[in-house]
Symmetry: C2
Subunit: 453 residues, 2 copies
Amino acid sequence: MKVPHRLYLSEEQLPKAWYNLRADMPEQPDPLLNPATHQPAKLEELYPVFCEKLAKQEMDSTTRWFDIPEPVQEIYKMYRPSPLIRAYSLERALDTPAKIYYKFEGNNTSGSHKLNSAIAQAYYAREQGLRCLTTETGAGQWGTALSEACSYFDLALTVYMVKVSFQQKPYRKAVMQTFGADVIPSPSDTTEAGRRILAENPETGGSLGCAISEAVEKAVTSEGCRYVLGSVLNQVLLHQSVIGLECEAAFEMIGDYPDVIIGCAGGGSNLGGLIAPFMRDKILGKHDPRIIAVEPASCPSFTRGKYAYDFCDTGHVTPLARMYTLGSGFMPSANHAGGLRYHGMSPILSKLYHDGRMEAVSYEQTKVFEAAVYFAKKETILPAPESSHAIRAAIDEALRCKETGEAKTILFGLTGTGYFDMTAYTAFHDGTMKDYIPTDADLQKGFDGLPQM
Amino acid sequence: MKVPHRLYLSEEQLPKAWYNLRADMPEQPDPLLNPATHQPAKLEELYPVFCEKLAKQEMDSTTRWFDIPEPVQEIYKMYRPSPLIRAYSLERALDTPAKIYYKFEGNNTSGSHKLNSAIAQAYYAREQGLRCLTTETGAGQWGTALSEACSYFDLALTVYMVKVSFQQKPYRKAVMQTFGADVIPSPSDTTEAGRRILAENPETGGSLGCAISEAVEKAVTSEGCRYVLGSVLNQVLLHQSVIGLECEAAFEMIGDYPDVIIGCAGGGSNLGGLIAPFMRDKILGKHDPRIIAVEPASCPSFTRGKYAYDFCDTGHVTPLARMYTLGSGFMPSANHAGGLRYHGMSPILSKLYHDGRMEAVSYEQTKVFEAAVYFAKKETILPAPESSHAIRAAIDEALRCKETGEAKTILFGLTGTGYFDMTAYTAFHDGTMKDYIPTDADLQKGFDGLPQM
């Protein structure tokens, strides 16, 4: 089959079930722990924070497939399938023998893959009769996605937006408001967690970990309200498996299979979803693709973090998860890839990385934006800074193929568009963009705050 | 066939030729006139301003099909086909028996249909060995599209951006700069036309007509440079026929045909492209769809303008075109649909409207934004203000169907996304958005400036 520039599955080919990678992992990620007792968290303990169905998905490591509820499938059809794009133009420009593919998740109003889980989570909340949800957002992609989903299912929504992103992206707020959400810059004085963080560090630009604390606190102190999260959690990776499943079907159609799979990693939602069926093949010995997580050098959870139990948030209201972490007290610098500024990492991905099933690399942001602009000019898509980490790694891999003459098949996740990141692009053009690499001493401060187990 | 939510043609089904509606019009639009002699403009007279191939397309009313050059097809494949979307969710929300379809052109980085012509025009400029292009942009969609196209074909580009849009949409500028364009707010002091307009009206927010004058002047006074335009011209409607041709093929696949076709109209590029094959069917008596142009009440070229010879620009450097016009001196108010703030209208559409083959309606912008927000919440796409004019009319048509019980098939053009229009959405949410309707006296001033023929 001649590979088209954009490969779309038909509506009938869309996945009808999410794939739970844990069911095929020979060893499970370590369980969530109750932060008070350090005992494995019980399902019921999650209910005050999470919807029941979502809590069950979170804890379920044996059910291999979860049916996608009809109403969720119905909304998926409004913006899915996302195209698998063959980067012919980029390949020509790089003069590489590699075949480069990317799964483009940016063609929906939320501008990213985040909508895949937002819809699922809003649906289950509605099904449970809840009236409102709270969440945090970094770059604003998750907040936008959840705003859309809540608007569709008629749920009230409060979004705590990392302050630095709130300031860099004023229009993100306006989009969320268009869909009816209440958007609050975090840390804020609306929660105890926020007030405490502000007292310690009044000038902080905030972080995902801090916004999570606020959102969780708001949820558990509000009637008929629950908290939802756009990354890190097992349930989110489950929903995002739709990305990988569509890729798998598309590669079957074109009779190819990726040799290298690359995704940016903040909390791991996109990467976890993208690689799910390919990692299964790798675990089962059917294929052996290289799988590479790409993170910012300013927030290097995989490449410089510790595999340890830690809080998922800065305010220490969440359960403990064993993951690659920089410590929940680590405050990442104001990197423009707001969606990657998270101290921890998905426990599933952390386990896979720890077991040597995947690799990780980090890049400084100027290198990432060089790749972003190059890509935009060749492929006519303006990528989000987060996604551009994957672009950078994919380009470098394709250039290595040029040196070695290998015609590898490279797949990367283009998670979203950069429409709301023009402040960052302008800083790059102006030459005012800086790179931030934490010193070992910076990191040690974060590690010093890890809970004593 | 069960109609999917999103219908994509395959790459093989993409149009290989543009359709020239003029070849099937029983009466031709009146010819462009030389502004000095008032005689029909000769092909050679256009060469200082336009690329030769584009000038030929402009003047050619008999060639029915123009092959789309291979390199243009190649780029089309990077973002086309655009989906024809069945608005199931909107239909349910409106509880209408009507079937609502929209052709969504917003899923490319330029965010609109404008890329279809930008690529063609940049290609022909490159083919002719030119080094640079100039243009104007209102909402910024055309400027963004042309920036992408010029970056791809390695041409320098100067964009005169209507000042009010430049101020409302700072990030548009950043996107164009990412693709390498030089962006200047218009009116500016870089041209005689701009300086003259500024001297007369220093506080003006500019207009498309004024930005055109500047861009044309810049092109004819620069070496190896030509001017390109994103709307109004016959050549642009020709390139945009790809929209209508894809729709035609999609409706054939699902075995339906639109009863009503609706598009927003500023200069007419989207509407002219969308309706091309359907208007042909209407002219040839094969089908009889209603065709409706929707314009802002603040800039009502069709509904309150005169069918007369007029300049295409404010500075009177262009040929005269016979069209529906408010007079080239008419300065539209700062309506948020910057792409529709043009005093004139495509001569082809003007002729069709004059001959009674199509209708026109106008809406005030608050009514338009009501529809935009309603649509966003139901269809999960944030529409551009321009496109939302068509949404408003389509919703109203669907509501009439609800009253009459008619199961009409409605097709409208969703030309672009509103990511860069959040200032406008915020004004709507805040209740600070105003409606502007020119008085008869306002219009008379514009008409008084029409050239004496």
